[in-house]
């Protein structure tokens, strides 16, 4: 790891003017620094900022940027009113990491694409213009939706998938960003993963607490039972009225460079019962534009099965 300045900020203003990479839990940043993927000259410790806490007020759940994954997952209001958040967090990483890692750091964690994480390889995300070995390489873990010829890395956060289904808002020290507008698709500039500007500090997350949100679930499929990133995942919130789907939100992980919302799949489900046939139609709508690569074509089928499984639980 390269030498760097370490600054401990005690106010938001201080943090923003310190001009360095923020460190919260450190569980992603330090790995990236050890591997030489990131090499900041200055690291700004934001843990002393008053950005923790979880509160429920006027139909909105506010999660401080520095609330820890474990704390959010265990919070009674989160577990009962927004269960998909708790489930997605408990399915993430390990107990130790969940004690350390912050909500803001979780949303900003970098992809686990092995070409990105290994500086011996070219990677447009890490070194724009250098290449993307994943296109024709070991791309089992990579995107089938939303990728580009410059990048097919998937976003790794489970929480981000849950928050996408719940239409959360990311709050920074100077603006509010709907999560649907927060993450960017790679297109020609995979190095830009989200709309945050340099030095912009996330202060918290807001999630509307609705009856739909209270009927939400997370399903994560992975290569081992626990402590592993998603191969594919689904966050679903479904409200039935008289046996018909009155409202539904679906977000998918492991399939795209950002948490993937599918309005087409949602439209295929709305206004009718959750029959196998309608669920199949929703799955087909989801993968209509899928562009699998050599080793990840199985995800096209797997994500449809994951959708069928999670929706089956709402019947």
């Amino acid at each position: 790891m390269k030498l760097f300045d370490y600054v401990r900020a005690t106010s938001t203003g201080d943090a923003v003017s310190a001009g360095g990479d923020y460190i919260a839990g450190g569980t992603d940043l330090l790995n990236l620094m050890k591997d030489g993927v990131e090499a900041p000259d200055r690291v700004v410790d934001i843990n002393a900022l008053p950005l923790g806490g979880i509160s429920l007020d006027a139909g909105v759940l506010r999660i401080g940027a520095l609330a820890r994954m474990a704390e959010v997952a265990a919070h009674p209001a989160v577990r009962h009113r927004l269960p998909v958040i708790s489930q997605a967090l408990l399915d993430s990483a390990s107990p130790q990491i969940r004690n350390m890692a912050s909500i803001s750091g979780n949303l900003l964690q970098r992809t686990r694409c092995w070409y990105f994480r290994d500086t011996a390889f070219a990677c447009h995300k890490r070194r724009p213009g250098s290449g993307c070995p994943a296109q024709d390489g070991q791309n089992r873990w990579h995107a089938i939706l939303g990728g580009s010829d410059r990048c097919i890395a998937v976003h790794a956060s489970d929480l981000a998938v849950a928050l996408t289904a719940l239409e959360a808002t990311v709050v920074t020290h100077r603006r509010r960003i709907p999560i649907s507008e927060f993450y960017l698709l790679p297109e020609g500039t995979p190095e830009r993963e989200n709309v945050l500007e340099s030095g912009e500090l996330i202060t918290g997350i807001e999630v509307p607490v609705t009856t739909l949100a209270s009927r939400s679930r997370y399903l994560k499929l992975r290569d081992r039972a626990t402590f592993e990133f998603a191969v594919v995942s689904v966050a679903a919130a479904v409200r039935l009225r008289g046996g018909e789907v009155d409202d539904v939100r679906l977000a998918f992980g492991g399939v795209a460079p950002r948490p993937w919302r599918s309005p087409e799949a949602e439209a295929a489900l709305k206004g009718g019962p959750l029959t196998d046939e309608r669920i199949r139609a929703a799955g087909q709508a989801l993968v209509r534009d899928a562009r699998p690569r050599e080793h990840n074509a199985f995800k096209v089928e797997l994500v449809q099965r994951a959708l069928a499984q999670i929706l089956g639980g709402f019947r």
């Binding site: 030498l3 106010s11 450190g26 107990p95 130790q96």
Partner: protein, 198 residues
Amino acid sequence: MPLLWVKLHGMTQDGPTRRDVLKAGATAAAITPVLTQPVLAGAAAPSGAITLLVNGERHQVEVEARVTLLDALRERLALTGTKKGCDRGECGACTVLADGKRIKSCLTLAVMQEGREITTIEGLAEGDELHPMQAAFLKHDAFQCGICTPGQIMSAVACVAEGHAGSDQEVRDWMSGNLCRCSCYPNIVDAIREAAGR
């Protein structure tokens, strides 16, 4: 060992805000206090230090900003019970408690743990009397090579304290951050279940 040390300054900053800076690059004025540019040991200024509270004892340790808690424990405090397996958060061999919560010491900087109470495997026994979790690991033969064991035991102590040892399956889930290459998992589960009082 490279003769690179960091140096601690005290400076006062004007204005309403106050920051602490651990400085391992160029000098920054107007920030307080500062650990500056690595200098050769014994050169002009005294070596810099942070304070770590480990197993009930206060230690002044000289560190660069980039030193992880794990490396500080092992290489500065000679507390080599805490093991380095992957150094990437993946194996759990480096698990310690910080203010009673289990963390991976390879994924945090030593300087970030100032003010926290760190407990390592060396801090569990009371004199010659083993912690019940240590005794249960011995009784159930819950290790072979032993490299993962200190991390397993620290994680297990927290697992029980959290109330996550209610069934074998729950233990497996909540101990998943600790890998054992010798695959002693069944015996580890037995040990933890016994220590938890089944």
